[in-house]
């Protein structure tokens, strides 16, 4: 067996473990929480009172206008100076949630706005309240349109969690770094880590295709050719 393959096989266990215990939970949790934040922010911007809408615009402006790595450093290394001390994982979770919340709010705002006004009127005309119209008529249609852009966000997030290594979260990339520190084989280990990220992203891409098919089964859309 060539040396590089043996090294890869030996490190596969620790790397997958780090992916399973840190990368995956961090990704899934911050995406779920971030989407919730994004939905609330989008609804406030579309329907909320003006001062509140201005406040959430400020939030989106700050998050989109500053680097994610800097945000993570601020939360983990900066906040203790203000008396707020967080463990690495919760700090990363907060950072990624705020990030996803800001980016996804723009997507959600756009897709809700893309549902024709006539659909609101049709929902109202059969007696629905605003909430019923939103839940039963608008969000399901907006959801279909949101899948490709939100998939982008999700796939970016999987890879961005590697930034958490910089604030001491022992996730996949940090696990690779640790092995490199002992073996002095950066080329092999970082290729291996990259491949694992690639596999995770590919799984998500495949899920995106299935979800698009499922949510778009009612037709009327131009579909991707393959």
């Amino acid at each position: 067996m060539p040396h590089w393959l043996q090294l890869m096989l030996e490190s596969l266990g620790p790397l997958l473990w780090a992916a399973l215990v840190f990368t995956a939970p961090l990704t899934l949790l911050s995406f779920a929480l971030g989407l919730t934040v994004g939905l609330i922010v989008a609804l406030v911007r579309l329907f909320g009172p003006a001062p509140l809408a201005a406040a959430v615009r400020f939030y989106v402006w700050i998050i989109r206008g500053t680097p994610l790595l800097v945000q993570l450093f601020l939360i983990f290394y900066g906040l203790p100076a203000a008396g707020i001390v967080l463990d690495a994982f919760p700090a990363a979770l907060i950072g990624f949630t705020l990030n996803i919340g800001a980016y996804s709010s723009e997507i959600i705002r756009a897709v809700i706005g893309s549902v024709p006004k006539g659909q609101w009127e049709a929902a109202y005309s059969i007696g629905m309240t605003w909430g019923q119209a939103m839940r039963r008529t608008i969000l399901p249609q907006a959801g279909r349109v949101a899948v490709p852009p939100l998939s982008n966000t999700f796939i970016s997030l999987v890879k961005d969690t590697s930034l958490a290594a910089a604030i001491t979260v022992p996730e996949l990339f940090q696990a690779a770094q640790r092995i490199v520190a002992v073996t002095y084989e950066p080329l092999i280990l970082y290729i291996e880590a990259a491949l694992i990220y690639l596999v995770m992203s590919s799984v998500l891409s495949a899920l995106q295709v299935r979800l698009e098919k499922r949510l778009g089964r009612y037709g009327g859309f131009l579909e991707a050719r393959s």
Binding site: A122, G127, G220
Partner: protein
């Protein structure tokens, strides 16, 4: 009975309805006709409060609501009045993510909280009535315009509204498909369904309407029984408009 009293509607500085009053009998069909921009659609949408009148009173059966400029109307009051009505739109506006029968069931299940089985039975009966039972499980995107509009009529009728409002129900359809819709609406009219429709489809209005209200520039020019108004209008403006419609109709069916 529907009563609109002194309805006024402004969009900004633009006065689109000027002191319009209309009363319709239960079981009758009233057609609002007139040139585009004359206010017929807006008046229709004031009945189910998709447009909130700037001032005036809307009464449907025992439910009544009066509007004042700058006044606030509670969502619950709007809901209460709106639930007396069903509406058919020019562009159908079926829910594309629900099948034909799910579209018809939606108001029963979501708004009236009927159990799914009962809603399904009523929806199927209504689809039967509009000749669409065979397509109950079809997605709207796979139906022709005429078929979509017939499903939309069934959806509007599902919660048993006191009045069916139709906003240009045949305008988006070519003459052949429009005929399907005219037939269904004609049948409903003969069964005593109270309807108010905004239309410039002469075939629809003359076949279905009992009363006609001619609106221009936001005001009523003339109103009266359909037979008289179409054959013997009092105002010159009305007769000119009807003559134009006749010409268009003739050109279309050639």
């Amino acid at each position: 009975m529907i009563e609109l009293k002194n309805i006024e509607k402004r969009f900004g500085d633009n006065l689109v309805l000027k002191d319009v009053s209309v009363v319709t009998r239960e079981g009758s069909v009233t057609a609002l006709v007139g040139p585009s921009g004359g206010g017929k659609s807006t008046l229709l949408r004031c009945i189910n409060l998709l447009e909130i009148p700037t001032s005036g009173t809307v009464r449907i059966g025992d439910e009544e609501l009066t509007f004042h400029p700058g006044g606030h109307v509670a969502a619950r009051d709007i809901q209460r009045l709106r639930r007396q009505t069903g509406m058919v739109f020019q562009n159908f506006q079926l829910f594309p993510h629900r099948t034909a029968i799910e579209n018809v069931m939606e108001g029963l299940v979501t708004v009236l909280k009927w159990p799914a089985g009962r809603a399904h039975a009523r929806a199927l009966a209504l689809l039967e009535k509009v000749g669409m039972a065979a397509k109950a499980d079809a997605w709207p995107a796979t139906l022709s315009g005429g078929q979509q509009q017939r499903v939309a009529i069934a959806r509007a009728l599902a919660p048993s509204p006191s009045v069916l409002l139709c906003d240009e129900p045949t305008s988006a359809l070519d003459p052949e498909l429009a005929q399907e819709v005219v037939d269904v609406l004609g049948q409903l009219a003969s069964e005593g369904t109270t309807m108010v429709m905004a239309t410039h489809d002469l075939r629809l209005a003359s076949k279905v309407a009992d009363e006609v209200v001619f609106l221009e520039a936001g005001a009523i020019v003339e109103k009266g029984p359909a037979a008289r108004l179409f054959s013997n209008p009092v105002h010159q403006r009305t007769s000119r408009f009807i003559a134009t419609l006749r010409q268009e109709q003739a050109a279309k069916s050639e």
